[in-house]
């Protein structure tokens, strides 16, 4: 909490009209701030003049803990950051340390990792779509999205026993072999998901109220995105055709064909369309991947004790929210000297103030939804 002592709703300086410029406090227990985020809105009547985010309520000091754990021990902490997309956090960390060790995971492990990460991307986008639609007032999409997400979590549970904080990957490869009908489950989900996406599209895409509430709300053009470091769907919705999975492929992404969806004027509606298209693309990747999962070992040549040579590396992946980067410094011991995590939600949230200037209070809720932030990752 940046500043603890503060009246709830204060009247600060008067504006031209003599009407007070109201400071309205949203959160940290507000139903639609997606976690413990507190936004201090400077309001002039209903119009927002500025927003200051007060974060840190969920700060657990993950980077300090990393300096006191071995490389393997720190892996489960990584799942607790963006708890909605735990698997992609794990993928990022394991690949970073593998890079540090100059070791490559075997191809079978890479393919299984890619499938699970893409399923996790779909699950993360489903959580985003459900809560975002709920904030704007559409009650039904939430339950449809969570019904599909339940299928994905069942696959995770069958694979590694956990649904949310899975710790599915190990440094050097995979702990568990893909269970018997892994391909069958994923295929059944992907086949069914095609019809399900159409249900969301019927409910929302053409809906004039939905368009009215999202078109030209929270506009962030390409230049601002890059300047503010906003990446992921927000950058693509602004028209930049760039995806780290294509630009610098990792895991097994170079084996599969998929499109990069982009928007035109970077408003909430475009971000909605980009994320919907991303779900379809992830589905295609999974379908291509399960056609042939190559045989072979699932764990590379990494001993039980990991002592990487002193030095440092930076490795980043395309997480559902944006670029998730790991900067790991090793001093040759079993414990990392420094682990820095580049949190996409934290940096995307910085754009909130610029995006909602001049909007109404109802739009603040929509813009926080479209940023798709998870407070575990913002606060670390």
């Amino acid at each position: 909490m940046a500043d603890t002592v503060d009246q709830d709703a204060t009247h600060s300086n008067d504006t031209l009209l003599g009407a007070d410029e109201l400071i309205l406090n949203m959160g940290p227990q507000h139903p639609s701030t997606h976690g413990v985020l507190r936004v201090k809105l400077k309001l002039d009547g209903e119009r927002v003049r500025g927003a200051e985010c007060v974060i840190g309520y969920l700060h657990r000091g993950v980077e300090k803990i990393a300096e006191n754990r071995t490389y393997q021990q720190f892996a489960p902490y990584v799942d607790r950051m963006d708890y909605v997309a735990a698997i992609s956090n794990g993928l990022g960390y394991c690949e970073a340390v593998e890079k540090l060790l100059n070791v490559e995971a075997p191809i079978r492990a890479k393919v299984i990792r890619t499938i699970l990460t893409e399923l996790q991307r779909i699950a993360s986008h489903l959580v985003w779509l459900g809560t975002h639609a709920l904030d704007i007032g559409a009650l039904t999409p939430l339950f449809y999205c969570f019904r599909e997400r339940e299928e994905i979590l069942k696959i995770f549970e069958k694979y590694c026993g956990a649904r949310l904080t899975t710790h599915a990957f190990r440094i050097g490869g995979l702990q568990y072999e893909a269970y018997d009908d892994f391909e069958k489950d994923v295929e059944r989900f992907c086949k069914d998901f095609e019809r399900r996406i159409q249900e969301y599209v019927d409910l929302l895409t053409g809906n004039s109220i939905w368009i009215g509430r999202t078109r030209n709300v929270g506009v962030l053009n390409a230049a601002d995105c890059i300047a503010l470091g906003a990446t992921g769907p927000i950058l693509r919705a602004a028209g930049v055709k760039w995806d780290l999975r294509k630009a610098q492929p990792y895991a097994a992404y170079d084996r599969y064909q998929f499109e990069i969806p982009t928007g035109t004027n970077g408003d909430t509606y475009d971000r909605y369309m980009v994320r919907m298209e991303e779900m379809r693309q992830s589905r295609l990747i999974c379908l291509q991947a399960i056609e042939n999962i190559p045989e072979g070992p699932i764990f590379g040549k990494v001993g039980k004790v990991i002592k990487p040579a002193p030095g440092e590396i930076y490795h980043s992946i395309e997480a559902p929210k944006g670029i998730l980067g790991y900067y790991v410094v090793s001093d040759g011991t079993v414990q990392p000297y420094r682990v820095r995590i580049r949190p996409p939600s934290f940096i995307n949230l910085q754009a909130l103030d610029k995006m909602i200037r001049g909007h109404l209070v109802a739009d603040v809720v929509a813009v926080i939804g479209t940023l798709d932030i998870v407070l575990g990752e913002v606060d670390r």
């Binding site: 007032g137 559409a138 004027n265």
Partner: protein, 448 residues
């Protein structure tokens, strides 16, 4: 007997129908409103691939009673320096307004409270418009930022949509020529057509206005959970909150009954005067019997013993009611009662259909933003309603002066109104596009 008791007896003799129905309304309507809440939750659940309340009673049938008891027991919190007199008084106003406006309504050819008041429909609208007094006072008395904003917003919404609703009702009154509710329905049976077909635009305008008037579905801004955390009801809890909640649902029933009386032919069965369709009079009994059979079919599937009995009891009740509907057919002397019983059935069927549309919209549509809502109200709905009143008037003039066939006149004028409506919507979209392109340049967004 002393003169006083004689006077009282005399009074009772003359007014016993009104008194009984009055007591029934005040006692039964909150219960019905409770069950409407249950139906809404079950429907919402069904549309969202889940089960809804299942725990209290078989299939959650006792849920409203459980809710009522819970709300009664809950502590009534009065905010610290709230205006306690008005804080206590406001929910009562909104509940009383909804119930009194039911007094003038006809729930069937002879189920009514007030004896065909000369200004029937006007009474209902006037008294139900008192409801939002309760909302403003409630918002003001709870003395918190959120509720004041919620109260102001909801009043602005109600005022602007009441105008549109009133104008839509004027169209129907033009066609019926009278304010008496019974006479309106008789007019519809004389014309052999429901007014919805003669003035469809008016019905649509009234549908939209009534949704906004009861703060529901896409217009439920005042208590939009995600922004203002329950608007004017934020500080209320326990029974006072229940009063507001039941007031809203009672209001919904009132609005649905007005729409049924005015546009959907009140207690007339479909095609009332088509004689070869007279078997339709048997439909109510048939329908209820079917429900009974379904209950028996389900009884076998109930896991718990008591639920099986309950299902059988419900089935038995349905068959009893079906019999009551059939009695007038058997005994010739009770012929007159057919219209009465069937009328009530058809009226309630139409009212529940209307309320179903309310609920259906609530589950599918997202919520309007406040300025969009006002924009829709003032720039599209009210001009459309005015043009519609004008066009229905012209149609009646054509029919009276120039001897046009009524149907032809109304079709021509409705086409004219729809053309105007299209123009209004297109200019609205152009304005939105213009405002948004302007906003894309400046940071100040959609000014509306």
């Amino acid at each position: 007997m002393s003169p006083a008791t004689q006077a009282v007896l005399h009074f009772l003799q003359t007014w016993w129908v009104e008194l009984v129905s009055g007591v029934v309304i005040v006692a039964v309507v909150p219960l019905i409103a409770g069950y409407v809440v249950l139906v809404e939750r079950k429907l919402m659940a069904d549309m969202q691939a889940r089960l809804g309340p299942m725990r209290v009673g078989p299939h959650g049938l006792l849920q409203p009673i459980a809710d009522a008891v819970k709300l009664l027991i809950k502590e009534d919190i009065v905010p610290q320096d709230a205006d306690s007199f008005i804080f206590w008084f406001a929910p009562v106003i909104s509940m009383v307004a909804a119930l009194t406006s039911m007094g003038a309504l006809y729930f069937g050819p002879d189920f009514r409270v007030a004896q065909d008041i000369n200004i029937g429909i006007l009474f209902v609208i006037g008294v139900s418009s008192l409801g939002f007094l309760g909302i403003i006072l409630g918002g003001w008395a709870s003395n918190s930022h959120y509720s004041i904003i919620g109260a102001i917003r909801s009043t602005a919404q109600l005022v602007s949509y009441e105008t549109a609703g009133g104008l839509a009702i004027i169209c129907a009154l033009l066609l019926s020529g009278t304010l008496r509710i019974h006479a309106i329905v008789d007019a519809q049976s004389d014309h052999h057509v429901w007014f919805i077909f003669l003035a469809p635009v008016a019905f649509f305008t009234y549908l939209v206005a009534s949704i906004a008037e009861t703060n529901r579905a896409p217009f439920d801004l005042p208590e939009a959970e995600s922004e203002l955390v329950a608007g004017y009801m934020t500080e209320y809890s326990g029974f006072r909150w229940a009063l507001y909640f039941l007031g809203e649902y009672a209001n919904m029933i009132v609005v649905a009954s007005v729409a049924t009386t005015l546009f959907l032919g009140g207690w007339l069965r479909p095609f009332p005067n088509v004689h070869w369709l007279n078997w339709l009079d048997l439909l109510p009994a048939l329908f209820i019997a079917l429900v009974g059979i379904y209950c028996i079919y389900r009884a076998g599937k109930q896991p718990v013993k008591i639920q099986v009995w309950f299902m059988w009891a419900v089935a038995f009740a349905c068959f009893a009611v079906a019999l009551i509907f059939l009695v007038p057919w058997i005994f010739a002397s009770l012929k007159f009662a057919i219209l009465g019983l069937n009328g009530a059935f058809w009226f309630l069927l139409k009212v529940s259909a209307y309320i179903y549309v309310f609920m259906w919209l609530r589950f599918t549509l997202p919520r309007y933003r406040f300025d969009q809502l006002m924009h829709l109200g003032w720039y599209i709905l009210i001009p459309l309603a005015i043009v519609n009143v004008f066009s229905v008037g012209v149609a009646l003039l054509l029919e009276a002066e120039f001897g046009w066939n009524r149907w032809l006149a109304l079709i021509v004028t409705t086409a004219f109104t729809l053309a105007i409506a299209l123009f209004l919507v297109r200019s609205h979209d152009k304005r939105v596009a213009a405002a948004s392109s302007a906003s894309a340049a400046t940071s100040d967004s959609y000014a509306g």
